[in-house]
């Protein structure tokens, strides 16, 4: 047992230098001096949010940090708890984190129901059942170098949450006993949500915890999928719930609601290719030639038609603007057209063609008027250039006439 001796020596050194020991945290001092695994916490703790708030090792682990004598510092009589058993970690952290009075001193806006939620999660229930392989607080938040959620280096910072979850959920070996897939992260990385989060740095874009919860993590059930998606896509959810699909999809096996068409983790940019064509999701249930397939094709044609008309207007106006023409009024109107397209795509979730038709017609009216404005601006540009050419020609003639007049006058002199 060399470790206690190694720990003891620097403590002794500190003890013989009067006045230096009292000010130091003996836990950090001693653990920093050892060479084995016990050195880890002392090395990591400098980045820990608890230390930044003025807490010390002893505030979690107990003991007497003012004593240089390991036997005194780590004495159970001094409240020393040591390293908590894995099954007790959530309870260990909740000592403070579930105490509103205590938390108010350091993070008044922080929630204090994490432990309560954790107990309702799949992780929490399994841990309570003795399964120590499931995630506890430290598996997501790290240990000894725990950072605030808003810290970009924290494993639970929104941009890093998916990667943190994937450490276990993409590990086939770890997931084998639970018989759950391990491709979620891979699929999620192809989604519009991941794109929003990582490419546009939109921290509001959903990551694992946004749909599954964080401390109360569990997969949404069939009946709650649309509610989960609807927490952001509110209007889509409202229309979907009134649609014929709601009742049908709720009864479907393997998940229901929005994910029947949009998938769960691999939510891709929606397009009319989902309605018609070889990749149409409708064709999974509705055979070609049937009335519903025809309705889907009709709605897709409307949406594509509106999109193409708006793009045509956009191109015309951009070309006119590039030529220096003032087309800002038409460009503002074009925004209304784009909004109509969004409304039409939204109305599609009601699966009622009449409801889709209304915004499509509104958008088409905008597309036509802006196209006309673009064509007029380009025609006006040509008229201006022609006018310029005529003016320059006339000016040239005037200059030539003056030149001739001068020559005649000066040759006469």
């Amino acid at each position: 047992m060399r470790a206690p001796v190694i720990i003891f020596l620097p403590c002794f050194a500190l003890w013989i230098v009067p006045g230096s020991a009292a000010a130091a945290d003996s836990c950090v001092t001693c653990h920093a001096a050892v060479d084995d695994a016990a050195k880890g916490p002392a090395a990591l703790i400098k980045n820990d949010v608890h230390i930044a708030h003025g807490l010390s090792c002893a505030d979690c682990h107990g003991g007497d940090r003012t004593s240089d004598d390991p036997d005194v510092a780590m004495n159970k009589k001094k409240g020393f708890k040591g390293k908590p058993a894995r099954t007790t970690i959530p309870k260990f952290c909740s000592t403070c984190h579930s105490n509103p009075d205590y938390m108010r001193k350091y993070a008044p806006r922080e929630r204090v129901d994490q432990f309560e939620l954790y107990q309702t999660s799949v992780h929490g229930k399994r841990l309570a059942g003795g399964d120590t392989a499931v995630a506890t607080c430290i598996d997501c938040h790290s240990v000894h170098d725990i950072r605030a959620v808003k810290d970009t280096a924290a494993p639970v910072y929104p941009l890093r949450v998916a990667e943190t979850c994937s450490r276990c959920h993409s590990d086939a070996q770890k997931m084998a006993p639970y018989k759950i897939p391990t491709n979620q992260f891979q699929e999620y990385k192809t989604s519009v949500h991941w794109e929003g989060l990582t490419k546009r740095n939109d921290l509001a874009a959903p990551t694992c915890a946004s749909c599954h919860g964080n401390h109360g993590a569990k997969p949404p059930q069939v009946e709650s999928v649309s509610a989960v998606c609807g927490s952001c896509h509110v209007l889509f959810e409202q229309l979907y719930e009134k649609s014929v699909h709601n009742a049908v999809f709720s009864g479907a096996g393997g998940g229901g609601g929005c994910m029947v068409c949009h998938s769960n983790h691999a939510v891709h940019d929606p397009s009319t290719a989902m309605l018609v064509g070889p990749k149409a999701v409708c064709s999974g249930c509705h055979d070609a030639g049937t009335a519903p397939a025809g309705t889907a094709a009709q709605m897709a044609a409307w949406l594509d038609g509106l999109d193409a008309a708006l793009k045509k207007s956009e191109t015309l106006l951009a070309s006119a603007e590039k030529s220096g023409m003032e087309v800002s009024e038409a460009q503002v109107r074009l925004i209304d057209g784009r909004e109509s397209l969004v409304k039409a795509r939204l109305a599609l979730h009601s699966m009622k063609p009449a409801e889709v038709r209304v915004p499509v017609e509104e958008g088409m009216a905008v597309a036509k008027s802006t196209e006309k404005a673009g064509e007029f601006a380009l025609h006006e540009k040509d008229v201006r250039r022609m006018g310029l050419a005529v003016s320059v020609l006339l000016i040239g003639i005037a200059i030539l006439a003056i030149r001739l007049l001068l020559r005649r006058m000066e040759s006469g002199n």
């Binding site: 800002s328 009024e329 310029l388 000016i395 200059i399």
Partner: protein, 360 residues
């Protein structure tokens, strides 16, 4: 009574009241010296012509422009999209303003390099410098009037810089803004400067400048005394040539306005963040870039203060040119070479820093 007699009687009637014969005699006797630098004489005329274009187009714009925060931008858009040839008038006004300042600089440097400021033309030089200053004020005040995003923030930066002037800075900034910040009061104030105060001052000063030019006659290079040179009659010979140049400038102006119409931008939003790469008009870019290069603090002084002091000193040297770059009575020697050196330095500085300010 024959037509010739009616014409002669009418002329006599007006001559008795207006002194037309005297003006005609003056025009008959006014000559322009001919030498390799005669072409430089046209630039004063070009500047005058562009000032006339500004007055004319400005008056037309006044028929529709509304100087309030709520209406300024929309009224300019109305001019550009709804008023017949409004786009042309507004674009010519904006392009002409820029060409005017450019040609005013060319005219000023031509006077500087040909030492045309020397005795007895000191007052002509001073009135010319004052006119150039007024043109810059026209540019600064007119820039804000469309009330778009770029002009709003550029005015904010410009008035901030004015606010750092020692002692009078805060008062000057408040005077320009009509309050603590750029807003409705600034717009009406700039409008008043642009369409009333500055035109009145400029009109008077242009008259004085032309009178002084007429009084002292055209300057010739110091090594070419006027009596050794051949001359051209001002009217009609020189005037017709000047007219050809004006036509050329008009063609250039029309081409710029038709091919590159002056853009309107987005309506100013005081609560929005300043657009990226905000910068003033090109004629303030050299000073703007210089201020950007100066560290925020130099020893115990603020960087901007050092910059403004430097500009002030340079302006003083420049304005006082006829008084320190004196020549001997025969026109030789003196500090004329130093003045040429200062001129070359100024041109190099303005061109380099304007380009750096534009591209960096």
């Amino acid at each position: 009574m024959s037509a010739a007699e009616i014409k002669a009687k009418t002329f006599d009637w007006f001559d008795e009241r207006l002194g037309l014969r005297m003006a005609r005699d003056m025009l008959d006797h006014k000559v322009v010296p001919l030498h390799p630098g005669t072409a430089w004489y046209y630039f004063g005329g070009i500047t005058l012509f562009l000032f006339g274009v500004q007055m004319f187009t400005g008056l037309l714009l006044l028929l529709y422009y509304r100087p309030t925060v709520a209406e300024a931008f929309d009224s300019v858009r109305f001019i550009m999209t709804r008023v017949e040839f409004g786009w042309l008038i507004r674009s010519i006004h904006s392009w002409s303003a820029n060409l005017l300042i450019f040609f005013a600089f060319v005219h000023m440097f031509s006077v500087m390099f040909t030492h045309a400021y020397r005795r007895p033309r000191e007052l002509t030089w001073l009135s010319g410098i004052a006119l150039l200053g007024l043109m810059l004020c026209f540019g600064f005040s007119g820039y804000l009037l469309p009330w778009n995003q770029i002009s709003y923030f550029a005015t904010k930066v410009g008035t901030d810089v004015a606010g750092t002037t020692p002692f009078a800075g805060p008062m000057l900034a408040r005077l320009l803004r009509g309050g603590e910040d750029v807003g409705a009061a600034t717009l009406t104030r700039f409008f008043a400067f642009h369409v009333m105060i500055l035109p009145l001052l400029t009109g008077g000063l242009v008259g004085l400048h032309l009178l002084l030019v007429q009084k002292a006659g055209m300057s010739t290079p110091k090594h070419l005394p006027a009596h050794d040179l051949s001359h051209m009659k001002f009217f009609p010979n020189f005037f017709l040539r000047e007219l050809m140049v004006w036509y050329g400038v008009l063609a250039l102006l029309g081409s710029l306005a038709a091919i590159f119409p002056w853009e309107l931008g987005e309506k100013a939003d005081p609560f929005a963040s300043a657009p990226a790469g905000i910068r003033p008009e090109w004629y303030f870019l050299a000073q703007f870039y210089t201020l950007k290069l100066i560290p925020s603090h130099v020893w115990i002084f603020e960087g901007e203060l050092i910059g403004l002091a430097g500009f002030g000193l340079l302006a003083l040297v420049w304005v006082a040119l006829p008084f320190w770059a004196t020549t001997k009575p025969d026109g030789s020697g003196g500090r004329a070479r130093l003045a040429t050196g200062v001129g070359i330095f100024l041109v190099c500085y303005l061109v380099t820093f304007t380009l750096l300010g534009y591209f960096k």
